[in-house]
Amino acid sequence: MTSIFLDGKFVGTTAEPQKIVNEIRVKRRTGIIPNQINVAYHQHLDEVRILSDSGRVRRPLIIVENGVPKLTKDHVEKLKKNEIAWNDLLKMGAVELVDSEEEENTYIALTEKDLTPEHTHLEFDPSVILGLSASFIPYPEFNRGDRVNYGAKMVGQSIGIFSTNFLSRTDTKSNVMLYPQKPLVQTHAYSIFPYDKHPSGNNVVIAVASFDGYNMEDSIVINAGSLQKGLLWSYMYRTYETEQKRYLGGQEDQIGIPEAGVRGYAGEDAYKHLSEDGISNPETNLDSDMVIIGRVSPLRFLGTMDKFVTGMENIRETSVRLRHGDHGIADRIFVTDTTDGTKLIKVVVRDMKVPEIGDKLASRHGQKGIIALVVPPEDMPFTENGIVPDVIFNPHGIPSRMTMGQLLEIIGGKVAALTGKPIVSPAFSPTSEKELRETLVRNGFRNDGKEIMYDGRTGKKFETQIFIGSAFYQKLDHLVSNKIHARSRGPVTLLTKQPTEGRSKEGGLRLGEMEKDCLIAHGASLALKERFDSDKAVISICSVCGLVAMHDKIKNKKICPIDGESKIIDVQMSYAFKLMLDELKSMMIYPKVIVGEEE
């Protein structure tokens, strides 16, 4: 007997599972049972599973019977004339939505040509095997598979318009492109997905050439003129927020300009750009570490000495400051209350990101690169017609990666720009290369997309002809201005006196274990010592007991708490080691430092 489960619950058994399943399917297709029902018969488990609950991902398929698809030309015509809609097709039993369980019982043909009497379903288009990001790539079948994968990954990182209501949102961090465009070479996905509302890049004129050495190893040469016209500009929004927190004992944070005398007061200048409520005015220019919201908080833990210090209130400055290394302009300010009734302030800071040297750009074919040189437009190469490329892409990026889709896109983009009509070229049913070449010739260009070009700096003709066309480029969310970091001297951590870690803390770059080994391997002991000197300290050590001595302030003399006025020797060691000695003492191990004689 076959068990039957409805939404995972056992409801009964049957001797004829196949019959039941078929019956449910027929009834669903004829509209007797709602079309949300899916049913699957698992022969190996001897189970029939009927599913009607929410949250299942289902995909549309054309129903096939005896090798003939139920969706006919007639249906398509009617759809075109707007006489019927999708739901009508569902009711007619021409298409259906199949979930992952029922998919196990299907035999799906990819194209109409493949159909045999055994097939149960037909895909709408072979390109549906690709996911959302991958279906944005034109000519993917001409690329090597991994490149399509990389390309799809980078589509996800591109800066565009992620949400049309971004002006009323307070995401922690978001990027919005200023002048986005629709690609000249598209796929079906661009019309199915609301790409008009969520575009992600710009069309650029791309020349496949080298430019001195400035575009080797995947770097990109970009036209300064194009940048001045707004190519790939974007805004970065970052939200800073604070709550007026309440503490035990009736104390609370105070939002406002801190008064002079408060612990940690940074001086009048640090607060002068704030309005009287302590919050930056909109359109205030803010620089790294500047106060955005002035705030003071009560001290949580009072030190023993603090109780006796007079003239200083027990509050501390805890203003919200711009992240270290960031810049921007206060854009929008929200003042509201939380559900607990405390005051909540959010400040959105905007920063304009014009592409610069170090920013990451990518086409849709997994061809990413870093801007390495911004060239004035007059120095860029130009064609006979005076076309100046926006981007110069190094030809060495092509042979090893074999992204032929990129080349076709460049030709396609050129054709689209000449004819004024976008090329729609979905995966597996592309606009033919022949057609593109013919259109180029009809418009007075060479069929291979190459053109005679001249050096902008010398005016001399290049000996070779250069492949030039138009491609869609994206700016990826890896901008140098968010990553650039350097330090010479700077903050140290309290515990170990070693430099801090991380860009936001103005930290140093770690010279790790393996780097240390390299210095040893080179025999550079003195260089190694210098590297690890960041926390060096001079520690006074008693020559008798080998423990740290102390400084008697009254006598201005160093004495050992155990051996009194014994001989005390200053030893240079790293502070972290002194800390380790202290920790050993705390675990009842006596680390006696045996000091040698001073020379």
């Binding site: 240390k516 080994d517 390299c518 040893i520 391997a521 080179h522 025999g523 550079a524 002991s525 003195l526 260089a527 190694l528 010592k529 690890f532 000197d533 926390d535 060096k536 240079q572 060691m573 790293s574 972290a576 080691f577 050993l584 675990m587 009842m588 191990i589 006596y590 045996i594």
Partner: protein, 374 residues
């Protein structure tokens, strides 16, 4: 190594290099001046390739082995469905060698034959003899007789029935063993069926012939030599066989080599196996680095692993050991035993922020400036 490093006192070159120069100059009929020039050139290259005092050879060796090893990816782990003999190689084998595992995952022997037996028939015969036979391999059928509480089994080769019954008698004490036609009947004086079953399993596992632990043997011809490759090793028993050339016969089991042939042989096996493993993966590293590692492993007279129980655990410095692994163990032990760290190693000095005694930090100026004036 010791032979190689013997230097010719006259030229300061290793004697092997001097011999080679002699040979070349003889072959090419070099004049005296030309020969001297050649010696000069060789000297220059030789001296350039010698380590300088204070150079961190240990770290250089470690880096030279480990950098290529990182390129041996984990892919060597999985060979699902591959037919033939399974052999550990690649990274797992390298780890096995340097960790000085007691038993290799795939122990193997390469048996060479003495000159007079070096032919196909002898090799084939020996290969068959060498493989271990257990009762399991020589019996047709085994059954429990519950009426008489006995175990009966039929032997395939009737001629060996006496040997088999003798083996059972020797292996199991307090047992009555009888033979009847081609049947061996064992009466173990046990009435419990469960125990009878365990005795049956034991009987099947009794060794009756061949060499213990050798599971399989394949004959191969390598140049002039007929070689028997086996799975499973047992050098001790193989050496007794008169056809075997014990001078060349080899096992990949480091510990077995050590117990039977001694520490020098074990050192050679480590070098040979490590180099072989690297070369199988098309990684070219200098022999000297492997020699240094295996010297460290065998320095104490027995085989030590690289790691916390071996070479790294034998460091003199408490701080260096504590910083490596098992921090608390080393610190507590040091404090109980009142140990002293003389801070003479590199690691300890890096830790406390002083100049490490290697390379440029190795040397001090001992001539005083005012003495020089005189």
């Amino acid at each position: 190594m010791s032979e190689q490093s013997q230097t010719n006192s006259e030229s300061g070159l290793p004697s092997r290099l001097v011999e080679e120069i002699e040979q070349v100059s003889r072959e090419k009929k070099l004049s005296k001046e030309k020969k001297e020039k050649l010696i000069e050139e060789v000297k220059k290259v030789y001296q350039q390739s010698i380590f300088e005092p204070g150079e961190g050879i240990g770290i250089i060796a470690a880096q030279s082995i480990s950098e290529p090893s990182t390129q041996m990816t984990m892919r060597t782990y999985h060979f699902a469905g591959t037919a033939g003999i399974k052999v550990t190689y690649g990274l797992p084998r390298l780890i096995e060698i340097f960790d000085a595992k007691k038993e290799p995952e795939t122990p193997m022997m390469t048996i060479y034959l003495k000159k007079e037996f070096n032919n196909a028939t002898e090799a084939a015969k020996l290969a068959e003899d060498v493989v271990e036979k257990k009762i399991l391999n020589v019996t047709k059928r085994i059954s429990l007789n519950l009426n008489e509480n006995s175990i009966e089994f039929e032997v395939i080769d009737k001629r060996r029935i006496e040997a088999v019954s003798k083996a059972v008698r020797e292996f199991l004490k307090n047992v009555n063993v009888k033979t009847k036609d081609d049947k061996v009947i064992v009466i173990p004086k046990i009435e419990n069926v469960k125990e009878l079953q365990t005795v049956k399993e034991k009987i099947l596992d009794i060794h009756v012939g061949g060499i213990k632990d050798v599971k399989n043997a394949i004959v191969r011809k390598d140049g002039e030599d007929w070689i028997i490759n086996t799975i499973g090793t047992n050098l001790k028993d193989v050496f007794i066989i008169k056809e075997v050339d014990e001078k060349r016969t080899y096992t990949n089991d480091i510990h077995e080599t050590y117990t039977i042939l001694g520490i020098e042989a074990a050192r050679s096996v480590i070098i040979k196996e490590a180099l072989k493993t690297m070369q199988e993966q098309a990684l070219d590293i200098d022999t000297r680095y492997v020699i240094l590692v295996s010297d460290m492993m065998t320095l104490s007279g027995e085989v030590n692993s690289i790691g916390r129980y071996g070479v790294a655990g034998a460091k003199t410095s408490i701080l260096a050991r504590a910083a490596f692994e098992e921090t608390i163990k080393h610190l507590v032990r040091a404090s109980i035993r009142n140990e002293v760290d003389n801070l003479q190693g590199i690691f300890e000095n890096v830790m406390i922020g002083q100049v490490a005694p290697s390379g440029t930090g190795m040397f001090d100026l001992i001539v005083k400036a005012d003495e020089e004036k005189e």
